[in-house]
Amino acid sequence: MTTGIEVRIPGHLWGRLWEEVRRPGPREPVVFGLVSHAQTLNRTLLLVRDVIVPPTTAFVESKAHGAKWTGAYNISLLNEALERGLGILIFHYHSGTAQVRMSEDDKTSARQLLSAFQMVAPGRPHGSVVLGDCSAGGLILVPGTSRISKNFRLRFFSDEMTTFPILAANAADLLSHQSQPLLEGKVTRSKLANLVVAVVGLSGGGTQVARHLACQGVGELIGIDAQRVTRDNLLATGEFGWLDILLRRRKTSVVRSQVWWINRHVRFTAVNAFVPEPPTIAALKRADLIVGCVNNLNARADLQEIAWRYCIPYVDVGLGLYPLNPNDELSEIGAISGNLFVALPGGACLWCTGFLSDEKIQLEAGGDRSYLRTKLARSRQNSAAYVASFNGVLASLAASDVLQLSLDYASTIAVRKQFDALSGAVSEVVVKKNPHCPKCSSVLAAGDPLWQ
């Protein structure tokens, strides 16, 4: 198992950071990032929580290459980092599409600063990163070691997910991929083969998402579901059969077999646990993308929190059948509505849009008995309904979004899509990030807590 370091920058911070490090001025611009971190099974994640643009008064004249700032500014920066329990990343920019490297001056000053930062704030990582147009370089010092590492990945989010370094390939392969990213080629295959996708909930939606991802050839598929196949599942997806029920097979076992039949190069990892049990959390933390196909708001809230805390894109899928009269078990169907939400770190989350709220979660947990009756009636209807094809539409949309995020074949991605199964239409619902969303401000890029 390889270990590595990855810097992740949420979208709302990336835009500002990218603009500020390239701002023309009398000296090389420098921007500071305050970072938390998290440990996964195979990686240390550095999660940029805030970006600080130093004032011009912070800088002093320097004969050497690059910018130089005052000791007083260093102290105030360290104080803020300590106060917030975060580390410091220093960002600057070198133009050009070639692989960027730090200059000798940069390296010398970085080594001095990082050691000093670690002495004052040893619990969090520190680093100096040079950003290029298509690459990143630099030095990172993680907690618990004095060895400075120059090997790391950098991932940032905007309307898409971009990871540096871009996979090694010759110019012809890269050009071919840029013009035709959906055609099977060396770069496309490598990008997908390097992807770890967690699918949570292997019933109507999740099983069909898994089939698509296997077909796409993702490197690892983590299937998370604690349940065994039951009769109800046969109407929700075509991926299970009568023998699976007879043999009381676990859903993860069935999906493992399906994935192997489709593409034996896809590694399938089964997690037979619920959200948020420890094996589920450990598996989700190391995923590049999470696809949630769960049937309750509590699990959605947990998935959203994990995705935000560790800066992982979260694709949420859900289908509901809504009777005209919720209190009448024989009521006609009023709507069959599917939702697909793509939450990219730094963009709108399920809380921003009101899809999740404390009130709704409390109601689901049993605060309101009349709501529960409605929910029970609805669940009875759901369990008896033929919804496999509707789930299939949503699963296809979710798998397409995973493909789009990994191959970047379109310039934008619809954050929320709504599927009206009665008309068969899929439409985009325009959503905006809530700048006052309490979940975004408290959880996004929070990483693991710093115990002291």
Binding site: P276, E277, V443, P449
Partner: protein, 114 residues
């Protein structure tokens, strides 16, 4: 709960529980107690606990790593995701106010298993 009260309660917990550590998560102050002891008759006899102080709430939240079996039966409980970790939560209406001590809060919550 004001910042001053949270600070007082946090200090009390750190003084009274060996190895207690704190962390900030968003606006919430967390105190991890490596070992709290359940009343006699519980299995296991002790477990780690987490006390979460949210300034917007009148009382702290209390979580356990393990829900003990009391005379062979495990009381009803739920899962909660706190600061990226799985903890167990249980319902118990403790009459605790800010005038009480942190130790009284933890001791009171553990009486649920007496």
């Amino acid at each position: 709960m004001t910042t001053d009260i949270i600070e007082r309660l946090t200090t009390e917990l750190k003084d009274n529980y060996e190895g207690a550590v704190t962390a900030k998560d968003g606006g919430v102050t967390l105190v991890l107690l490596p070992e709290v002891h359940f009343p006699p008759g519980c299995e296991p006899a002790s477990a780690a606990a987490l006390v979460a102080f949210d300034p917007s709430k009148a009382k702290p939240d209390f979580y356990l790593k393990v829900i003990p079996a009391v005379r062979g039966t495990q009381p009803q409980h739920g899962n909660a995701l706190v600061a990226g970790e799985n903890w167990y939560t249980f319902s118990y209406n403790l009459g605790w106010t800010e005038e009480h001590t942190a130790d009284q809060f933890v001791g009171g919550m553990l009486r649920r298993f007496a």
